[in-house]
């Protein structure tokens, strides 16, 4: 949280100089700069060959192709992505940002590109529902919507924040946490990657979430183009194909 405040303070300084590119300016340059985190499998991460891959990377590339532009990927820390977006360091961000009121004040969100939920992960025999979390210690990644959701669950003893999801998982395994709340796809990926099927269990979804791309506040021309491209991809089957490749199911919002 402190780091977030420092970044915010520093950027308050510079907001007056912010420069954001409109769709025309992007078209003229021929390249579209896309911001993401690169540490959130299976959505955006570095694979065995150290290449940036994932569901959102495939989707971002497909959108750039639809717009006739060359994608240029830029990875930055998750908690500063939206701030740098407003500074014009990239043209849009696709990094699994759940739509929240607070974020919608700072940036403009596109139509959601998938739907998900925050899930409770615990050791076998541990809490599975929000009710059972009463009096328990819960871990979440800092700056995420799961953090906000966990803080709203009544009766929780303590919400611990971690820089990264794997740190929270580690504390869950070592017994310092009773439960870990994270994205349901991340939880599945973690259990698969570390072969923890016999140790951990998935509980209920604590909330539903719509996840969208973001553009700088007021960048209407680009937002419309993104929405159009996304709608086209959903219609022509490209979206379903990418989604099946990563999840074995279609993750679009119903």
């Amino acid at each position: 949280m402190k780091r977030w405040l420092i970044v915010l303070g520093l950027l308050g300084l510079a907001v007056g100089f912010a420069q954001v590119r409109t769709l025309d300016q992007i078209r003229r340059s021929g390249e579209i700069r896309i911001g993401t985190e690169g540490e959130f499998p299976p959505f955006n991460y570095f694979d065995e060959k150290n290449q940036l891959v994932g569901f959102e990377i495939d989707l971002g590339n497909a959108i750039a192709k639809k717009l006739g532009l060359k994608p240029v990927w830029i990875t930055q820390a998750f908690d500063s992505l939206l701030i740098q977006l407003n500074q014009g360091r990239f043209d849009f961000v696709i990094a699994s940002h759940g739509i929240t009121e607070e974020r919608a004040k700072a940036v403009d969100f596109s139509d959601p590109h998938y739907c998900t939920g925050g899930i409770i992960v615990s050791k076998k025999g541990g809490p599975k529902t929000a009710k059972e979390l009463r009096g328990k210690v819960v871990g979440v990644q800092i700056g995420t919507t799961y953090m906000e959701a966990a803080q709203k669950i009544p009766g929780i003893k303590q919400v611990r924040t971690y820089q990264k999801d794997p740190d929270a998982l580690q504390d869950l395994l070592s017994g310092r946490l009773d439960a870990w709340i994270t994205d349901r796809f991340v939880a599945k990926e973690a259990i698969k990657e570390r072969k923890l099927e016999n140790t951990l269990q998935l509980g209920e979804l604590v909330f539903q979430e719509r996840v969208a791309m973001a553009v700088a506040k007021g960048n209407k021309s680009l937002l419309q183009a993104l929405n159009q491209a996304l709608a086209d991809l959903m219609k022509d089957g490209t979206y379903a194909q990418i989604s099946k490749k990563w999840f074995g199911e279609d993750v679009r919002c119903k």
């Binding site: 510079a14 959130f40 999801d165």
Partner: protein, 262 residues
């Protein structure tokens, strides 16, 4: 052997050693990751990514340490100047740099500096990549600490040395250059080395602006494999290895200077 040849051979060995170190590191890391239960593909790429991260860490430390040395010598001298307009900017620089956290300086160099420079230099945002932003922040940071070390070294030289030089007709600038600085720099080698070793570890803070140095390359592997214990163990070991290599060379340097001083 003529001296130019000796210098040449020494540099060639150094360069070979540099690349050899990271190649070897890659092989060792791959073995280690295989042993700790990573798949063969993942072990190879993780080892490669971490060896690359280690190289970036060392390179960044070396160039910002060098720049910080130059900044430190000048800022340290200027702080002792009798002229107010020389002394004041140097004091101000040291005050600000030592008084703010390096983390904030790195974030500032990357996130705020390009926007502040934009009116004068429109391409600043493209030029100040994470690497160069980290270089600026680290070299100015270590420069301020070096400046105080250099100042202490200059003040440690007895007054008689100044008086002797002046009585021989040397100007104040020449006295500084030929009499005081060479003696002072010899005194301050150990604390300067200390600053460079600290700098190597501090460079891990550059991971906040997504510079893929050693710490961040480790974090990226963790985020894909969910195995913090194995990876952080390797990261810590590599930092220890790098600081050990660094102190080995600086110990050599120190010993040489000592002999020359006697």
């Amino acid at each position: 052997m003529p001296s130019w040849l000796r210098v040449f051979v020494f540099l060639a060995l150094l360069l070979g050693g540099y690349f050899g170190l990271f190649a070897l590191l890659g092989v060792v890391l791959e073995r280690y990751f295989l042993l700790t239960g990573f798949g063969p593909d993942r072990a190879a790429s993780a080892a490669q990514a971490m060896a690359l991260g280690a190289e970036i860490t060392l390179k960044l430390t070396l160039i910002s340490g060098l720049a910080g040395l130059v900044i430190g010598v000048f800022a340290g001298m200027f702080r002792l100047s009798r002229r107010l307009w020389v002394r004041l900017p140097a004091s101000f620089y040291i005050w600000v740099t030592r008084g703010t956290p390096l983390l904030v300086q790195i974030l500032f160099a990357y996130n705020a500096l390009p926007l502040l420079l934009k009116p004068l230099w429109p391409e600043a945002q493209q030029v100040l990549t994470p690497y160069w932003a980290a270089f600026i922040a680290l070299s100015f940071n270590v420069g301020a600490y070096n400046a105080e070390v250099v100042r202490a070294g200059i003040q440690a030289i007895p007054k008689g040395q100044w008086e002797a030089a002046w009585s021989l007709g040397l100007s104040p600038a020449d006295t500084m250059r030929f009499v005081i600085l060479p003696q002072a720099l010899r005194i301050v080698v150990p604390p300067l080395v200390n600053n460079v070793v600290a700098l190597l570890k501090d460079s891990s803070l550059a991971s906040v602006i997504a510079l893929t140095e050693l710490a961040l390359s480790g974090q990226r592997i963790i985020s894909a494999t969910f195995r913090p214990v194995e990876v952080y163990l390797a990261v810590a070991a590599i930092y220890l290895l790098l600081t050990t290599v660094l102190t080995f060379f600086t110990n050599l340097l120190e010993r040489r200077l000592q002999v020359a001083g006697r």
